[in-house]
Amino acid sequence: MSVMTPSTYLVSERRRETEDTFTLELEPRNGGIDAPQPGQFTMLYAWGVGEVPISVSAVDDTGRLVQTIRDVGAVTHKLCALEQGTTVGVRGPLGRGWPIDELAGADVVVVAGGLGLAPLRPAVHALLAKRELFERLVLLYGARTPGDLLFLDELEHWRDGGFDVQLTVDAADAEWAGPVGVVGKLVARGGFDAGSAAALMCGPEVMMRFTAAALLERGVSAERTYVSLERSMKCGVGQCGHCQIGPTLVCVDGPVYTWAEMARWLSVREL
């Protein structure tokens, strides 16, 4: 099948994660796509409306896809409204994911902002599945409000599995007893050996710029700081050029890059 031809998937479950974010579980109708690696994405096609790149938020070997979507536009609005039993088109898996196997022997710091936890969640699962290969595992997760934190029911399992999970919010409500402040502030609190640690990060670009600076200041190297970028992707296979940034195409060369590769391009305002 052509990489441009979507496979048909059945919506087997739809879950509301936050006020504007939903997770779809998708079952292939006819074989489906190859199993995504952590950090890869797919193009989801809402029939007759359009196609958008969406993070894979969990992977397994059954062929089931789990994708988390924020309702921000016409296509994502349609996708978020899909009922159980309806179908959706899927192309992929696309892009370069998190280099999990290259992190063996190191402390791994996972830094997520808002919806950025969705593409990092398969990495968290992969790190926990091979727990013995890594040293300390730290998750630093920030969101706008407590109600915007994703996958809260899983965080305890991640703690039980060996993750040091630290949460923060920009704006608290009366029930929130955790830290209030930007996620970059959690970096300073540490809990990892910065000199040998690797960081995996995804979130709004501004948040990643400031948090990368905090990581580098602590001593994490730019070559070991990985970021997942979001850009306007159309074809997903490096043909249309919509997602070009500097000399690279995010859909095929990314979305995961090292900070060493990407820092200079993210400072160019015209890109």
Binding site: D20, R70, V72, G113, G114, A143, R144, D148, D170, A171, A172, A174, W176, A177, G178, P179, V180, G181, V182, G184, K185, A188, R189, G203, P204, V206, M207, F210
Partner: protein
Amino acid sequence: MARGLDAVVLDAPVFAGLDEEQAVQLAGCARTTGWDDGDTLFREGDPADAFYVVRRGRVALELFVPNRGALTIETIEPGEVVGWSWLFPPYRWHFDGRAVGAVRAIQLDGACLRSKCDADPALGYELMRRFSQVMLERLQATRLRLADVYAVPR
């Protein structure tokens, strides 16, 4: 053997790298203190006659808003400093401070430190430099939150 307060003071990141003599001067204005969960450390408008280095627990800086109650502006975590109002007239707190969980901290007396800084400009400069850094980091973090980076682009 119990560690001296000067050694405890040097554990605080804000004082890391101070020389021994300066640490002893600071320790002369310091004592350990603590609060239980929910206790009020200070209220907006109270005299800011001290600042604190949090050693355990968390301090919430709050602003009381009529009809909404207390809004947490920011939390101060272990290793961080609560308060710089002791440095600047009129030496009054601008927010409320509340203990979240059991809090242990070093309390440094503001008037005591100011008089030492007046007598020893090198110490004064060193403290001003370090508190400026704390203020810069808080200001940048606040600006980042004002930018509302998690908002949906429209």
